[in-house]
Each structure stands twice: as C-alpha cells, then as structure tokens.
C-alpha cells in the first residue's frame, strides 16, 4: 500500500489479488447478497485509491482496509435505507458451494444448516454480526478488530462471546421452528 500511496497505482492490482476474495466474503456475510457484495468490494478498492494519502506508512494495511470496508458498508446501508432494502428488490438466488474437503477445524455441514446459520446471522444486530464475521470468518485477532471498529480489545472480546451466545439462541430457535 505504501507504493500505491507514493503513486504506483498499478500496485493496487496486487492488493486486489491478495484481498478481494476475503473482502467479498466479508460483505457477503454482512449483506447476504452477491451483487451488492461485489459492488461494495469494488467500492473499497476505489476508495483505497482515492484516500491512499491517508494511509500511514508503517501501519498494518489489513485493519485500515477493513476500516474503509466498514465505511463503505455503512454508506451503502444509509443509501439503501433511503431507497429499498437489498433483499426486497435485488436479492438473488445463489447457492453456496460446499467444499467437499473441509479444512481440519471445519466440520462438514449440509446446505440446510448453512441456510439456517446465514438466516440466524442476518438476524443479529450489525455490531455483533460484524465482530463475528471479522473474528471467525476473516480470522482477525481481537486487537486488530478493536482497531477496525474503534473500541478496546476487551470490549471486542466480550462482544464476540455475547454474539456467539445470541447466534446460538437464534439458530436453536430456527431449528425449533423448522422441526414443528
């Protein structure tokens, strides 16, 4: 990013290759909408270019990138609030491909379980959903998340744990409804 900041904007292509999939998945887990997530990911790279002078050389790039990603998401939410929600108008049907060989710490799950989990996640307040996605799906440490969301690491730790409990309750409720 330091090179991009100094005017070598072609280096942004390299940053795109390194980070676009995880950024796209960050937005996907927050919005549950493929098209919107691609638009938001594109917007992040546009803003990285536009605001490159605000990147402090020597500071870690990833938390800064996610700070911008959060702003992009909030701006989009504000804009959508004035227009229509994603899911009412633009939601598309898309099927997640389940990896045939899950990584060692990941258990195999069925598509139905994924759908219920996504539904439960979507029901959480934004702040809780955000820290869960950043910690579990983006694999960031609490200290990094604290930089991104602008609070103390202890607050992030507590928020993650409470979000996990809320998510568990929401998922159990959905499973119960499905069983009826």
């Amino acid at each position: 990013m330091g090179q991009v900041r100094n005017g070598q904007v072609e280096q942004l292509g390299l940053l795109f290759e390194r980070h676009h999939v995880r950024l796209f998945n960050f937005f996907l887990r927050l919005t549950d909408n493929r098209e919107a997530s691609e638009d938001l990911t594109q917007d992040v790279f546009y803003r990285l270019l536009k605001y490159r002078q605000s990147f402090a050389p020597g500071n870690p790039f990833v938390p800064w990138m996610y700070q911008i990603a959060r702003h992009v998401h909030y701006d989009a939410l504000r804009k959508k609030a004035r227009e229509t929600p994603w899911k009412d108008e633009e939601s598309e049907t898309w099927v997640e491909t389940i990896s045939p060989e899950p990584s060692p710490d990941r258990t195999a799950v069925t598509r139905q379980e994924i759908d219920l989990l996504k539904q439960a996640l979507a029901g959480l307040p934004r702040e809780k959903r955000e820290v869960l996605v950043l910690s579990r799906i983006q694999n960031l440490r609490c200290e990094e998340i604290a930089q991104i969301v602008g609070c103390g690491a202890s607050t992030v730790r507590v928020r993650i744990h409470r979000a996990l409990q809320d998510l568990k309750l929401a998922l159990d409720r959905l499973l119960g409804e499905k069983a009826l």
Binding site: H20, R34, T41, E96, R106, A108, V109, L167
Partner: protein, 273 residues
C-alpha cells in the same frame, strides 16, 4: 479465574489465541464450574459451525471492473504528469507542505480572489486562450468519456447509474457517449437506469441521433415510469414526431391507465403548440 473473566477470554480461547498460562487457568475454572463449561460448549459449537461456512468466489467481472478503475486512474495520472512542468519531487514537497497549512491556503485563496477582482476585468483576453489549459481541458474530457463508457458497460445497475451521472460532464459533441446513452435507453434491463437515461439525454436533445433514439424508445417502451418520463420530455421538446406514438398509447387498452392519461395530456400539449 472467575465466571465473569470467562466472558472476556472465551473468544481468544476458541480462536486458539489465548496465552498458555491464561488457557490453563481458564480450563481449570471450566473443570470446576458446570455453568461456564456449558456456556463455552455452546459457544464452541456455534464457533465451529461459523468456521464451516464456505468461502465464496466473486464473479470474474469484479476483477475487470477494478482493473478498469486502476487503468482510468493511471491514464488521468499520466496526463497530469505530462502537463505539469515543475519536477515532481519539488512539486510533491510543496504540495505536502501546502496541504498541511490550511491557514496559508485561506490566505493565498483570499489574496488570489482579491487580485482577481482588481485585475481580472483588465487582463481578460478571450481571444487568446491558454494552450496548456486547453490541452488539460481536452484530456480531462477524454478521461470523463472513458469513465462514463466504462461504467455504462458494467453488469451492476448501480454502476451504470453512476455512468449516467458522469455523462453530464461530457461534451454534447461526444458521439461515443451519446450512442452509449441511446443504447442504454433502448436496451438496459433496469427501469431506474432507463429513467435516469431519459433525463440525461435531455441535455443532448438537440442531436438528431438522440431525438431518433428517444422516439424509438417511446414506440417500444412498456415500463410506465419510463413512458411517463419520455412523454414529459417529448412535450418539453415540442417533438411533433412523437404524436403518432402517443396516439397509439392512448388507443391501446393494454397500456397502463396513468400512462394513457399522461399520453392524452401530452397529445393536447403538442397539438395546441
């Protein structure tokens, strides 16, 4: 470690980031406290499920879109470097200093404004335009054209809407942009994009290519919102060639009622003038 501390350390414990001593203390507490053991078991279960969510790949178009942004930016950057005569390092230093001194910015701005007020009327020679400025204006114009055309071709409707907004900044002589706008009006699948295109084409309505495109669109458009926009524009332009199309809309029982009424109003306006 006590029960309230478990809440703080659980996240790091589940992620495998908890330092060894704290981990031993936490596990020791779990051995003694059934409530915390149960809480952490439930948290671990959902933690594992979250981790099993698959990573999804975005479409290949995303890469093309970001590359287009980088290319457009580089082109603009190259043009700026070409035009600026001072050495870049000198300019960079001055710019850094300048951007960090807002008081100087305001002072110089006020000074320039005052000098302009006094000397402007005496020095203006419209018959001798500055060559570098003209060149810069032309190059910025071509960059705007590139951005507009790139955005208009994007798969996302919001990007195409941005492209239409950019079109307000291009010259009315830019046939490539006009053709792209006319094509968007006739073929874009998104109603909002077509409505915005009608409004954008209004500024270019003096061009025959645009007039013909508007008429073709009025003849085949079936989205009420776009039809009403087109009827309004026809009335504003006093376009008599649209009369047969408006008559067809008023006589078509399948047309939307509001559109039929609007077409009747439009006909009255056009026939009276």
């Amino acid at each position: 470690m006590n029960c309230s501390q478990i809440e703080e350390y659980a996240a790091d414990y589940l992620a495998g980031h908890l330092e060894h001593t704290l981990k031993l203390e936490l596990e020791s507490h779990l051995g003694e406290c059934a409530a915390c053991r149960e809480t952490l078991r439930a948290s671990r279960e959902i933690w594992t499920q979250l981790g099993a969510l698959p990573q999804v790949q975005p479409s290949p178009e995303l890469r093309l879109r970001v590359n287009a942004i980088i290319a457009a930016y580089r082109q603009g950057q190259a043009q700026r470097i070409e035009i600026s005569s001072p050495p870049p390092h000198w300019w960079d230093g001055l710019w850094t200093w300048w951007s960090r001194h807002p008081a100087w910015q305001l002072t110089v701005l006020a000074l320039v404004f005052a000098v302009g007020l006094v000397t402007g009327p005496q020095l203006s020679h419209p018959d001798r335009p500055n060559a570098a400025f003209t060149q810069l204006r032309e190059e910025v114009g071509s960059l705007k054209e590139l951005v507009t055309l790139t955005l208009l071709q994007q798969p996302s409707a919001s990007e195409r809407l941005q492209g239409i907004n950019w079109s307000y900044q291009v010259s009315s002589q830019d046939e490539k942009v006009l053709a792209a706008l006319v094509q968007a009006l006739e073929t874009d699948p998104n109603v909002n994009v077509r409505v915005a295109t009608v409004e954008a084409l209004r500024q270019f309505s003096g061009q025959s290519m645009v007039r013909n495109g508007l008429l073709r669109s009025l003849a085949k458009e079936d989205a009420p919102l776009v039809q009403i926009e087109l009827i309004d524009l026809m009335v504003r332009l006093r376009e008599k060639a649209s009369i047969p199309m408006l008559q067809r809309i008023t006589q078509n029982p399948d047309s939307n009622l509001a559109v039929r009424q609007h077409a009747e109003w439009g006909l009255q306006q056009l026939i009276q003038t």
